[in-house]
Symmetry: C3
Subunit: 204 residues, 3 copies
């Protein structure tokens, strides 16, 4: 089995998402089944909601052996080396940002293939990249990070919009457009973490 560079990027994102689920499970004193389940739900939740909404069943993870393996490996590593997870958080943030970027593009492409309007495709990109984390937070009873902290959805929307606009209005090769868009998402996400950017909220 030879892994393409693209697959490697996606897997590193899946891995980071799964670690974030496993970490949340450990923080909530879940047992090992809860840890494995939350790793899975966090990693494949966004793509699953996307597939359900557009009617692409059986949903993608069910036949994606590579991702499923990565999730199990991530859960085991997070369980065995939990004390290192915090130390390695900076690396996990990078992988997580790559996952957000890659999954955003995957979601948009599936929306376009389903003939959906462009803004809905961008929304499907956000859903694919970010709603696994939303499920994780709802299940563990935490305030959704996606709605309350940090720049996450905005990075996905910015890069996703660039992706569809560049596809319409330029003649650049698809690979290049995708690379630039993912880079924009990763860049905005990591800059927002570095400088603690926050979105405005409405005062009550």
């Amino acid at each position: 089995m030879s892994l393409t560079f693209i697959q490697g990027l996606e897997l590193s994102g899946t891995f980071a998402f799964a670690v974030s689920g496993a970490t949340a499970a450990i923080n909530k004193s879940y047992d090992v089944i809860g840890l494995l389940a939350l790793a899975f739900i966090t990693a494949i939740g966004g793509g699953t909601i996307r597939d359900l909404l557009i009617g692409a069943t059986p949903v993608a993870w069910m036949t994606d052996e590579l991702s499923n393996t990565a999730i199990i490996v991530a859960a085991v590593i997070a369980a065995l080396f939990f004390s290192y997870v915090k130390i390695l958080q900076r690396w996990l943030n990078i992988f997580d940002a790559i996952g957000l970027g890659m999954f955003t593009i995957t979601g948009i492409n599936k929306g376009i293939a389903a003939g959906l309007p462009i803004p809905v495709c961008v929304a499907l990109g956000v859903i694919t990249g970010a709603f696994g984390g939303l499920l994780r937070d709802v299940i563990t009873g935490e305030q959704p990070v996606l709605f309350t902290r940090e720049i996450y959805a905005v990075a996905s929307i910015a890069g996703g919009s660039l992706f569809v606009l560049a596809g319409f209005f330029t003649h650049l090769p698809a690979d290049l457009i995708q690379s630039i868009s993912v880079t924009v998402i990763v860049g905005i996400r990591l800059l927002s973490l570095r400088y603690n950017w926050q979105l405005p909220r409405i005062r009550q």
Copy 2:
């Protein structure tokens, strides 16, 4: 674009549902992305669950530009004029009741079209009208209003049952039956708010 009266009623309901989501988001200190997302989830959540259950994909909101526009407008208005939302709550309750009525009938009609048993169709009406609010409450970590306060589902069930029974046992025109049923739902809902009717609950 010319809007029919029916579409106007549905849109006023969608608007009220979205405002209720936006309001919940502001109360929980969500940022502007959380506000927009919760407005959407509250407004389209019930119809989306219904469509998923019967396999009507891509789910309805994805191709319903008018509703999506109404939701975005509602979210922006709720954000800009939040201090007025409380003052206007009485009007919003009326729009919300209209939404419950219209969505109940939509859900029932989709169930009938899918050939499902009548009680299941009535349940689909309730799901369409009320489960967006349930999602809102689960995501924000609140006790579900639908299960704990006020007459909401019962209004939908009463009007929905009238709708299917009148369709079977009378020869009244469909438009008239629908109008009466929606009026019954709106009436029960607003009377229950006015007189603070509550359903019984089982003492522990």
Copy 3:
């Protein structure tokens, strides 16, 4: 209408699941609509998630009059005789374990019929048997029992794996394999309750 033994076992499980939902609703002071809704969601939630994931719509409960009747009866009985529910908890645990066993096998068989990989089929068994309870806990804002207490998923995984392995590697009749597998699930589940077995969890 004559009920087969298999149907009887499934119905006793559905009944126990519905009682557990109704009990959770009463503990949270839900009104009678909340009680009925949570009984339904707990009893049919797992099978519904399974059907959505594999695209089997309309989802099973919509045309399963027998189950729906059992759920309504369970909700009414739990409401009327709530003080007895605790006393009868031991019997309910047995029915619940039977439900876990039966639903696990149903889920696996649906996964096999959909041509999905074996580990995914076992996962669908767990989802069918246990995710209704997960939905119950998420809606009521409780820590998921499935992820934090007792041996539940493991019983389903053990019996489910036995079911698929025996199907591949032996020539025993399907009925016998199913009976043994359900017995294993019920046995592990009840022994774990009796001796308060717990899964390990990772220390923070």
